[in-house]
Structure formats: C-alpha cells, structure tokens
C-alpha cells in the first residue's frame, strides 16, 4: 500500500461507493415511506367498507 | 397547408413585429457589449469572431423560438390548430420554417453590424458563408422548434428552453464556429468538409425526429 497516488485511488473508490450507497439509502427510505402510506390507505379503505 | 401555416406566422410577425425587433435589438446590444469588452482589433478578432458571432445568433434564436410557441398560447390558438384537420408533422415543419425565416432575416441585419462593430474583414468566399449560415439556421430551428414545442406547456418554460437547447446544439455550434472560422481564413472546402457534414447530419437528425415525433409533443 505504499504505492504512489494511493490517495487518489482511495478518493475515487470512496466517491463511487458512497454515492451508490447514498443512492440506495435514499430510494430505500422512499420505499419505506410509500409502504407505510400504502398500509395506511389500505386500512382506511377497509374501515370505510 | 404548409404554406398557409407559414404565411400565418409571417403575417402575425408583419403585424406585431415583436419577434424580429426583439431579436435585432437584443443581438445588436450583445454585439455592442462584445465590442466594448474586447476592444477589437482586426487581427485579434479573427480568432474569436466566429464563436462570438454564433453565440449572438443562438441567444437571439431563443427569443424567436420561445415567442413563436407562446403566441399560440395567448388566446389558445394552439387548440384551434390542433382541432383543425392539420397534420401535426406539417405543423412542426411550419414552425421550423418560420423560425428559420426569422433567424435569417435577423442575421441579414445583425451580420453587417457585427462585421462593422468588430472591424472584421469580409470573407473572400461569400457563397460558402451563405450556405453554411443557412444550413446552421435550419439546424437551430429544427432542434429549437422541437424543444420549444416540448417545453411550451411546462412551467418556467422561458428558462427551460435555453437550458435544454444549448447542450443539445453544442455539436451544431462547434461545427458552425469551425466552418465559419475556416471560411474567414479562406481555407479550401476539403479542409473543413467534415464540419459541413456534421452540420448536415444534425439538420437531418433533428428534422426527422421532429417530423416523426411532434404528434406526441403537441397534444396536452
């Protein structure tokens, strides 16, 4: 690991990994919210019925 | 039908003079600003003039492209045209041609001003220059008519149009600048043939896409 330019490689790798992970995190949160709302809508619908 | 539609755009412009006057005054104003910010000398200007020139025309064309669709919305004449027995592809060609005509007319006024203000020598081969200009104008109005049709019903469309148009026409702008520079440098056609071909392919691609796809864009 004493090779030259290791910092640059690490920076590039981290940028890619962090970007993809944040992406997954964001859409995962969105999915969670949507599922909660779907559940809420379903229960309120069955209450009406 | 195409002639009716183009004549309509020209008649409206003849009555209101909105598009051409705003194009020409805006273009002249930018040219003046260029002259003030660069203090032109004939030698130095030759390098930058083609680029500056096409920037002016691109900015100016956005005014015409935006206005030509926003005029249709004012009293909702667009719904009238859409409900009339007019093919949408013909509608696209009419917008495309009238945009082209406005751009050419504005250029006929602005180009002499540009050469005068920036103290540029006239190019030796005027025919080549005219051919390149007409072709590039076709390209700008083909892409521009399609895009202004796309954004016309979107909010903040006056801002979106240049944002969409400028990156889309980069290849056209590069080729226009390069071929204009070559003509002003009196280079033989063979040396800049490639740029000419690029302009041609851009015109063909966007004319075709617009012709085939405008139907999907026009309906609300």
């Amino acid at each position: 690991m004493m090779y030259k330019y290791f910092g640059f490689f690490l920076a590039a790798f981290l940028v890619i990994s962090v970007a993809i992970c944040s992406w997954i995190y964001v859409i995962y949160q969105q999915e969670k919210e949507l599922l909660t709302e779907l559940k809420r809508l379903n229960t309120s619908k069955s209450e009406v019925e | 039908m195409l002639a009716v539609l183009v004549r309509k755009d020209l008649l409206i412009e003849f009555r209101s003079r909105e598009i051409l006057i705003s194009m020409i005054t805006f273009g002249a104003a930018i040219t003046l600003l260029y002259a003030f910010s660069f203090r032109p000398s004939p030698e130095s200007m030759l390098t930058f003039a083609p680029g500056l020139m096409w920037m002016v025309f691109l900015f100016v064309s956005v005014l015409a492209l935006h206005r030509s669709h926003s005029l249709e919305k004012e009293f909702d004449a667009f719904s009238m045209i859409l409900s009339a027995p007019v093919e949408r592809s013909v509608l696209f060609i009419s917008k495309y041609l009238s945009g082209f005509i406005f751009l050419v007319v504005a250029q006929m006024v602005l180009l002499p001003l540009f050469f005068l203000f920036l103290q540029l020598p006239l190019p030796a081969n005027l025919a080549q220059m005219v051919a390149v200009f007409l072709l590039v104008d076709l390209g700008i109005s083909a892409a521009g008519s399609l895009l202004s049709g796309i954004v016309m019903r979107v909010r903040v469309n006056e801002m979106l149009l240049p944002l969409m148009l400028f990156p889309m026409v980069t290849p056209l702008l590069i080729s226009a600048v390069k071929s204009t520079a070559s003509i002003m440098d009196s280079q033989p056609f063979n040396q800049w043939k490639l740029w000419f071909q690029l302009i041609l392919s851009f015109v063909i691609v966007f004319s075709l896409i617009g012709y085939l796809i405008y139907d999907y864009v026009s309906e609300e």
Partner: protein, 227 residues
C-alpha cells in the same frame, strides 16, 4: 353519429374522466352539465384531440378519430373556452385563416357577411387583442358560420356574452335544431341548457351521473340504445 367509449383520463394520478361513454345521434342536441372540474371541457378537448386520453375510443360515423390522421377531425368543429385566435390579426384575417386550415377559400364578402351576422363590424380592421370577451365570443361564433361542420362542440358558449349576444346564440342553436344538426353543448348553466337540448347528461367527478330526456330522469344506459 359520435360515439365515445370508455374514455379514461388522468391528470397526474388524479382521475378526471372515468370510463365515460356517450353517444350523440345524428341531429341530436346533447347538453353536458356538471360542476367546475367535473371533466366536461376535458372530454370535449379529447374528442377533438387537443388533449390526449389514457384509454378508450372515439369514432365519428364509425371512423376512429383517436388513432387516425387529421382528416378524420374535419367534420368536428370545436369552440373552446378560450377564443382560439391570434391576437395580432384582425377579425376578418382570423376567420379567413381558420377557413384555410379547413381547406376552404371563402371570399372576403362571405367573411364580412358572417361577421355582421354575429354582430361585429366587418369594417373594423384593428387587431382582436383590443376586443372585449364578449366580442371575442361573437367572433368565435362566426366560425360556426364559416366552416361546414357536422358536429359542433361548444364549451361554455355564453361566457362574456351580453343579453343580445345570448339571444343571438339561442337563435343560432334553434336554427341548427330545426335543421337537424348535431351539437354537443357544455355549460354549468343547467337552466339555459335545458331550454335548448334534446337530452342532458350530467358529469360529476369524472363519471356520467344521470341523464334526462325532456326533464324526465332516466338511466344513461337505456338512452344509448335509443340514440
């Protein structure tokens, strides 16, 4: 005969029209009523292909309108909520232009006659940008005299009209009724509509709610067979 079958339309995810089916027989004057936002205007605009729809079919005398060329729209004339003209042009120029879009070449005398018939001064050459709402509506009505339509679709035609304008419109509608022409009238003014229409259909929340024949309430499905 215009037949509209199972038209659905959503704006975003909000349904505007749900499974709307409707038929207008030859020579029938159909009134479409409903509160604001019930989808009346949208339905009209879908028929003349100003607005796209999400599903369903529309045909005129058996020929599909939705997936066909522009010529299939020729029998239909649509007068929208907005006047549908070019503000910088004069009244006569606007009429002439629209006639040309329908492939007609009316003489200037014809145009002038139509203008005076709707109560506009044919000699006036200024741009219609200066016109009042009522004058624009009169000009829009002049379209119905200039273009030979088979089905007229009118969206809130009384908007902005004064008393005289309204009675002129009523007169026009009565003449059309006598001549057995087909009309689709949209208005929220139920009273005005019922005095003219053969049949009324109510649209509410994007669904056809009820329809009436001469004030008699009956179910829409029974009427489709009749029409």
């Amino acid at each position: 005969m215009l037949s509209i079958k199972n038209i659905n339309k959503q704006f975003g995810h909000r349904p505007v029209l749900r499974d709307v089916s409707l038929e207008i027989g030859d020579g029938e004057l159909l009134g479409l009523v409903g509160p604001n936002g019930s989808g009346k205007s949208t339905l009209l605009r879908i028929v003349v292909r100003v607005v796209s729809c999400d599903g369903g079919s529309i045909s005129w005398n058996g020929n599909s309108i939705l997936n066909a060329g522009a010529d299939q729209r020729r029998p239909l004339l649509y007068l929208g909520h907005e006047p549908g003209f070019y503000p910088p042009l004069s009244a006569a120029e606007n009429l002439l232009l629209i006639a040309k879009l329908y492939g007609l070449e009316p003489s200037p005398a014809d145009v002038e006659k139509n203008l005076s018939e709707v109560g506009l001064d044919p000699a006036r050459s200024g741009p219609i940008r200066e016109f009042s709402r009522g004058m624009l509506q009169r000009l829009a009505l002049a379209k119905t005299l200039t273009i030979p339509w088979e089905l007229l679709l009118l969206d809130e035609p009384t908007t902005g009209l004064d008393k005289q304008g309204k009675s002129m419109l009523s007169q026009l509608i009565e003449t059309w009724r006598k001549d057995d022409r087909s009309l689709l009238l949209v208005s929220h003014d139920e009273e005005w509509l019922s005095s003219h229409c053969d049949r009324m259909v109510q649209l509410s929340n994007g669904r056809i709610q009820r329809s009436e024949v001469d004030g008699e309430k009956s179910v829409q499905t029974e009427l489709v067979g009749e029409a």
